[in-house]
Symmetry: none
Subunit: 219 residues, 4 copies
Amino acid sequence: MNSPETPTCAPPRRARRKQARPGELLDAALSLFVEKGFAATRVEEVAARAGVSKGTLFLYFPSKQALFKAVVHENAGRHLREALGEVAGYTGSSAELLREFLRRWWTQYGSTPAAGLCKLIMGEAANFPDLARDYQEQVVQPSHELLRRVLQRGIDRGEFRPVDVALTVPLIIAPLLQLVLWQQWPADCMPAPPIDPQALLAQHTDMLLHGLRPEAARP
Amino acid sequence: MNSPETPTCAPPRRARRKQARPGELLDAALSLFVEKGFAATRVEEVAARAGVSKGTLFLYFPSKQALFKAVVHENAGRHLREALGEVAGYTGSSAELLREFLRRWWTQYGSTPAAGLCKLIMGEAANFPDLARDYQEQVVQPSHELLRRVLQRGIDRGEFRPVDVALTVPLIIAPLLQLVLWQQWPADCMPAPPIDPQALLAQHTDMLLHGLRPEAARP
Amino acid sequence: MNSPETPTCAPPRRARRKQARPGELLDAALSLFVEKGFAATRVEEVAARAGVSKGTLFLYFPSKQALFKAVVHENAGRHLREALGEVAGYTGSSAELLREFLRRWWTQYGSTPAAGLCKLIMGEAANFPDLARDYQEQVVQPSHELLRRVLQRGIDRGEFRPVDVALTVPLIIAPLLQLVLWQQWPADCMPAPPIDPQALLAQHTDMLLHGLRPEAARP
Amino acid sequence: MNSPETPTCAPPRRARRKQARPGELLDAALSLFVEKGFAATRVEEVAARAGVSKGTLFLYFPSKQALFKAVVHENAGRHLREALGEVAGYTGSSAELLREFLRRWWTQYGSTPAAGLCKLIMGEAANFPDLARDYQEQVVQPSHELLRRVLQRGIDRGEFRPVDVALTVPLIIAPLLQLVLWQQWPADCMPAPPIDPQALLAQHTDMLLHGLRPEAARP
DNA sequence: TATGAATGAGACTTCATTCAT
DNA sequence: TATGAATGAAGTCTCATTCAT
């Protein structure tokens, strides 16, 4: 029943490459912007890393600023929403819910290239205020809101001791963000043993759950 | 009653300004570099903010890069070492020692302009690897080392439960660094109620001490 | 009768220009450097004289200094070696050989734009010592060596009276160099009748051959 | 009979230094301009070599160009006129007169710092056409005129063979000028044995007198 | 008169962007 | 669509000149 115009399988190679161009450029731009910053990255480098010429880049993005905004919008929000959306309907213990949040945050966001945005946005917020606002709305606030609900649920169910939720959320987030930034740091400038993300997250979880344990729950 | 022949001590105006110039330029450069990044900051802006002309800047720093390095070396290490040095000979409880560490870190470093370096170095590490290394050695490692000793002391004296010290130190530092970064974020891109540093630090301390409380100590 | 499908051989216009660019820029640079000196020549002038914009020059030469060095290496040696190389295998009289040397020196070197290097190198030797050394080795010494052999041949064959060859060579060269320098002098600063190069060279030849005539040969 | 206001001997040291300032500056400027060219010489270097500060230079010369013109006018003409003036009333043989001319030209002009002007004017003629004209009138033409008279005298008295005087004069001058230029060349760019001025001038004289010897005079 | 800090016009150089091919 | 040569605005840096001391 498939018409010949709609083959289910892969399109011919050339066409696929053409389709992929913007994505390859966005990937190249993301990694370079994260590495060197917006201003210090030359469009020619981006084009070269994507395997095209400088002129071609401008066929897909009208300016360097537009490329930057596309990079942010492409990577912001989507990954994180996908990663955390499913946490919403959880039914188990709040401790396990918090564990799951941290686990997903890392596997589906913090360890992906999209995490580079944390550093990028941080450095360029003052130069691109509208982007910074978008990022706040699409990434920061949703994840904070989600964490707030997780904490509140635990407190309400007596699984966590009562704490100031609005203040505790940033304390949970901070090591996650910092972990991402530490990962971006150039390897040859780091002290001898690099941080093991899994171990750090485990320790973070452990400290959090100890810190949140209700007084009454202690033997 | 001062006769005009006895000017108390003021040096001639020009000379006094000359003394002050490098410092004024470094302050201006620090704030602008932190705000906009190294590449996006023009030397003319730095000069203007310091109240001098473009050419004057080059009387004191041979290049924009040299200015940047001077900014980092001027602000790195010194403040932090002064702030934390006195913690070393502490004799009270380890909980109070940890509290003191966090308090000093904020009042004498995190709340000063020098804290902007955290963001700056983060963004420019890849472009100035030698500076990044210096910063690691002069700022990051000393403060980590100090915290390691504080934790170990608490564990040894039975005041803290045994934890992996090497992993816990970054967890204590992360919210401090992140707090600084959040403060740098342009005000008009932030959600409604800005974070109160004092409150956040208090909550951080509380969570930490709960998280470190020995099992045996619980009633 | 050419069909539009068979364009004879012209490469696309852009490409042909690209081929020609370095040469055009070197020619423009040579004439301007000779005219005004290295420091007083602006790269924008060079580009304008070559019919391109400032930026284009930097596509072909990484800096003004590199342009200068390319100008010297492009013009030094090659012309002169080509011009004088064929004198080597000469079989006629030494007087005629000397005549031929002076004739060629002028037609194939002294009267070409490359002769401007004499003045240029003279003025910039202290600022570009390595170039000055190259010029000594590639231009000055070879032509001196050649002249030495011509003189020695004449003396050995009894056609010239014995003279100190090492001292006489510079005396033969000096008027040639000076002639070139006089030609470079701006026309409106010269006294009424400008020097006629051909006549001056003829007189130089005449004086030289009289000066070298053996005593014995006189009637 | 000397009033106390007009002491014949040297004035007090400070005053003499003040008097000498412009001269010291002119000497410093001459040597630096000759060495590096006008544009590549910084006024600060000139001041430093004269032992004063940059500002002081501008008390004596209103601009860098004015300094350059003063350098030229100070050194042009005067030395040469003094050196050659006395040749005018000569009564001996024309050969001896020519010898005397060459001897004086070297000892009283070519070997003095003022000779650097030859190179300087050569390089800057296009940038300072009015100075080039002055130099032509005050230096070049007078010495050419003088040589013309020497040659004509020799021919008229039958001591020299008849030659084209206007063409021969430059041939006599050329080695003198070239000798000066060779002396200016930085030492470390020269071939092994440097030219001995005295020997070269002797050879030049010898070649000239041989070249000018009348046919009739030969045995 | 002498100083040297300060200035700002102008030079070299980079690089985002355009456009003929 | 893709290229890469060409452009020129904008940035860094120099240095002749000024001026308060």
